[in-house]
């Protein structure tokens, strides 16, 4: 028997170094007692925190994805809430102004009085007219 075999045989004997059956019979009771005590000591918040930490630890290689995903979800949430509240609360003109678009409103003046005719001698048109694209008439 070489030294390595002797060593292995010696080490195998260490397996006998264990407490008697009584210890293992009592172990389960002691474990439950300890769990009860721990449960009483810990607040609900503490237990939640512990579970979250354990869940996070058990994620392994996916652990990095949690902060990234949370940030993305948070950003998306802000965008969705911010965007929807803007469209709900602000008038359409505000959006248009923010976008830089401007719509000019022109007052359509139709001569109703005699003075208007004098001020604008071409109205009503004297000669032949043709319709324009804008719904009016143009003198030819």
């Amino acid at each position: 028997m070489d030294n390595n075999e002797k060593l292995q045989k010696l080490l195998r004997l260490k397996n006998y170094e264990r407490p008697g059956d009584e210890y293992f019979e009592n172990f389960l009771g002691a474990l439950k007692q300890r769990q009860r005590e721990d449960a009483l000591r810990q607040s609900a918040l503490g237990r939640l925190k512990e579970r979250v930490v354990e869940w996070y630890r058990d994620l392994g290689s996916l652990r990095w994805a949690v902060p990234a995903g949370s940030s993305a979800a948070l950003l998306a949430g802000f965008w969705a809430v911010g965007g929807s509240s803007l469209t709900q609360n602000e008038p359409a003109s505000a959006n248009l102004q923010k976008n830089g678009s401007e719509t000019r409103m022109f007052e359509l003046r139709i001569p109703r009085t005699e003075d208007d005719t004098i001020k604008n001698p071409s109205f009503p048109p004297q000669g032949p007219v043709m319709p324009t694209n804008f719904g009016g008439f143009r003198e030819l």
């Binding site: 030294n3 390595n4 002797k6 060593l7 292995q8 045989k9 010696l10 080490l11 195998r12 004997l13 260490k14 397996n15 006998y16 170094e17 264990r18 407490p19 293992f24 172990f27 389960l28 002691a30 474990l31 300890r34 769990q35 721990d38 512990e50 579970r51 354990e54 869940w55 058990d58």
Partner: protein, 196 residues
């Protein structure tokens, strides 16, 4: 359900029941695994009180995490991984105890046929020899690093095969063999006088 190995997990039914909240099923798992895990932790910590504390923590953690067990490995590998990691973490935190008292030999070892056969050839004063052997071996074990002691405990003392140890520790089989080879060399040099 089959684990990745393709071998059926003998604890599958108990684990399923425990995952559904059956505390008696979990109790059965505790009763079944506590002697084995006790051996693992004890031979790594060399202290009975510490062993008791760590063992309780291991099962408490297993109880809290049992729903996260996805049967990718056997329950045996899973709980051994928890126990090994928790013990290694514990050892990191614990200061090396100066003049740590080594536990006495269990009476069973003195009556072991194999043990008597091995020791009677070397020394007629059996009792003294047994005590000396125990102390020397424990001292030699303490000179190993935590990782090397873990491998020796699992392979030499508990008889777990290389492949299983590799899964438990999350290292390659080659790493397990290499650690074992190095640890054996170191132990042999420590026990040099004993062989003569």
């Amino acid at each position: 359900m089959n684990a990745k190995l393709g071998k059926p997990d003998p604890d599958f039914d108990l684990v399923c029941r425990a995952q559904k909240g059956d505390t008696k099923a979990f109790d059965e798992l505790v009763v079944h695994y506590s002697p084995k895990l006790y051996g693992l932790i004890y031979h790594m910590t060399s202290n009975r009180e510490d062993t008791n504390d760590v063992l309780q923590e291991v099962f408490a953690k297993a109880y809290r995490s049992i729903r996260q067990f996805k049967a990718k490995s056997t329950f045996y590998t899973w709980i051994y991984s928890i126990a090994t990691n928790m013990t290694l973490n514990f050892l990191k935190k614990r200061k090396r105890r100066q003049g740590m008292s080594l536990d006495d030999l269990d009476s069973a070892i003195a009556n072991d046929k194999e043990f008597i056969e091995l020791t009677s050839k070397s020394d007629p004063v059996k009792e003294a020899y047994l005590a000396e052997l125990q102390i020397k071996l424990n001292e030699a074990m303490q000179t190993l690093s935590d990782n090397h002691r873990a491998v020796v405990t699992m392979f030499d003392i508990q008889g777990i095969p290389h492949t299983e140890i590799a899964k438990i520790l999350g290292v390659t089989e080659g790493t397990v063999r290499s650690r074992l080879h190095y640890a054996h060399q170191l132990l042999q040099s420590q026990l040099g006088d004993f062989w003569k």
